[in-house]
Every structure is written in structure tokens, then in C-alpha cells.
Subunit: 165 residues, 2 copies
DNA sequence: GGTGTGACTATGGCCAGCCTAAGTCAGCAG
DNA sequence: CTGCTGACTTAGGCTGGCCATAGTCACACC
């Protein structure tokens, strides 16, 4: 059987002796690790912009929606801006920033998994141009689509990190 | 600017009138929506198999690790099985099932986002064959890599659902 | 100037998830 | 048969996320 584990390389290899303390998954979850945060983002992708709509469509209370939206705004995933329809008074709308929009693959991956393993939902994502189903997949910058077993976890050295920064 | 929203199609179009009650994201989060669950899965991908190692490397207490691992086993993401090293007594190991392994793109997407927006971590994922960086990306079965704006959310009709089941 | 609406805030309470500290239990090692 | 180790469980307590209910405040409309 396949092992479904990543290969640890170089200084990471004896797993003993290092911790994933600064793990980017953990840090991401610190911002969007609640059910309500991720579902609010889902709604934003669905095009929802107004406060009461978010609360209702996500199925959370308004106090929670307010708190969570504020966090998402504070962390830069969503922006809150006034807008005005003609003849209407000024209102607030919430829209995804570039930073928020880039979380989409994560949501799609969760959606895809739920659909596959917990039974299909009533909706699906399709590519407008070709009509085919859309999911999230692993891809390297070389253009391949590797399996989990084909991945190495490698330590970034200081120089590489500096060059990237 | 780009809108970063999906286009709702057909009966979904007036967003008013339907709810994402059965949303696969929500259902997935019911199983793995806690920080500890996702970090335990991360550790499993890193190759951790033993109880105490999970607790220590994730940075959670043993009672929580026990509860969360049991949930993951009950839901079929991880399997718990006895194993024996020569001259040692029987112990338990935890390993990813196919179902658990398929959550990997979601974890990679979260990792990638944290790395990009919260500062680079000390490790990175690379494709063993070509050495390039690996991330999670949208891809349709037609082989394209669409942007968020190029996606349609479409309602599955009964026939299609039946045919897929 | 009263009414309605949108976007919140305030209060109080419940429960899940987390912690520490300590206990259990089985099996191999001495 | 005592001790140790691995895999847990039990007990007690804290905090954060959630809820419902109710209140606030600004503004357009009538």
C-alpha cells in the first residue's frame, strides 16, 4: 500500500528534535480556524456583501457575524467600505481582498472532500469556459501534479529565505 | 478590479431563496474543523504514528489528542492498528486512510496561504522528481487552471446526482 | 417628526475545546 | 514481583465561540 506520508529531508529527517512550532497551517488557523470564519468567506465568494445577509446565509447570530467579520477585516482578508445606491443612504459592504481571495483553493479543497466522502451536495463548481468540474489539486511550479508520496519536506536555509523576502 | 466571486447560475442566481444548509464545507468542518484535528493530520502526513508523539509534536495535551484521534478514527480518516517491533510488546499506531490522505490538498492550501501572507515558515514542500515548489491550485477535469472569476456554481439536478451515486 | 431599515452593540448564559495533574492498565525487563 | 513504558482515562477548571434577546444610532422617507 502507499504510505501517504511526505518524506522528510536533510536536517528534518529524524523527526525527533524539531517542532513545527511556526507551522503556517497553525498560523493560518489562528486567523480563520473557526467554522464561522470559513463559512463567511464562502459566502463572500458566493457574492454576499451585506452584514445581515452574511449572518442569515451562514446561519450564525449577528453578534458572531460582527465579531468574525471584524477579525477578517482586521487581518486583511475582507475589506469594509461604504457604498451608496442612488436614492439610498450610505451602507457598508464587505468584499474579499486579494489576500482573502487567495484562500479559495483551501475552501475548494474542503468542499471537494466533503462532497466525495460525506455525500454529494446540491451544488458543484464548474469552469465557465469548458464546463468541466473544478477541484483543488497539488501542482508544482514545474507543472506536474505530484502525489503525497512524491513530496519532500525541505528546510529553507537563511539565504533562500532572505532572497525570497 | 477583479471581483473574486463565483457566478451563481440557474436556480441559484437570485441568492435570496436558497441556503447552503447542506454545504460540504460545513460538513467537512464538522469533522476536522478544530485546530487540533488539522494539526494531527499534518503530523500524520509528516509520518508520525505514535500517540505520545502526536500530542507532543502538535503541542496539545494527551486527553485532547486521545479524543481527537478517536474522532478521526471513528470518521475513517485515520486507522488505529496494533503493531509489534521485534522484542518489543504490541503497540498502537495511527495511520492515514485513503479518506484522510485526500484531505492533503486542503492542508497544503492552508500552508501555502500562511506562508505567503503571514511570512515564510522554515520548511517548504518540493516535488521530489523535479525539485520545484508544490502548492494547491484550482484545476478542472479539462486540465485548465481557472481563476475564481471564471467559475460557475451550478445546481446538480436529481438525475445527475443519481447517476453519480 | 415619526417610522423603518441597516448595521451594528450589550448582556447573560451554555457548551465545546483546551489545560494541568493524577490515575489506570497491560506487558516486557530486570 | 517490581518497575517502567506506552497508551491511554478521570477530574476539575478556564476560555472562547456560540446563542437569544434587546438596545443603539444614523439616516432616508413620508
Amino acid at each position: 500500500m502507499t504510505e501517504s506520508t511526505i518524506r522528510l529531508t536533510g536536517p528534518l529527517d529524524p523527526r525527533t528534535g524539531w517542532t513545527a512550532a511556526n507551522c503556517p497551517i497553525g498560523r493560518t488557523l489562528d486567523l480563520v480556524g473557526t467554522r464561522s470564519a470559513l463559512l463567511l468567506l464562502r459566502e463572500a465568494f458566493y457574492g454576499t456583501t451585506r452584514f445581515a445577509d452574511f449572518a442569515e446565509r451562514v446561519g450564525i447570530s449577528e453578534p458572531v457575524a460582527a465579531a468574525r467579520l471584524r477579525e477578517l477585516v482586521d487581518h486583511g482578508l475582507i475589506e469594509r467600505e461604504p457604498y451608496q445606491e442612488p436614492g439610498q443612504r450610505t451602507r457598508m459592504q464587505y468584499r474579499l481582498t486579494q489576500q482573502g481571495a487567495e484562500l479559495f483553493p483551501a475552501l475548494v479543497a474542503l468542499m471537494q472532500w466533503g462532497d466525495r466522502w460525506l455525500g454529494p451536495a446540491g451544488v458543484e463548481l464548474r469552469h465557465r469556459d469548458c464546463g468541466e468540474l473544478v477541484g483543488a489539486e497539488l501542482r508544482c511550479t514545474g507543472g506536474h501534479h505530484p502525489a503525497v508520496e512524491d513530496l519532500d519536506l525541505v528546510a529553507r536555509d537563511r539565504r533562500t529565505q532572505a532572497a525570497h523576502a
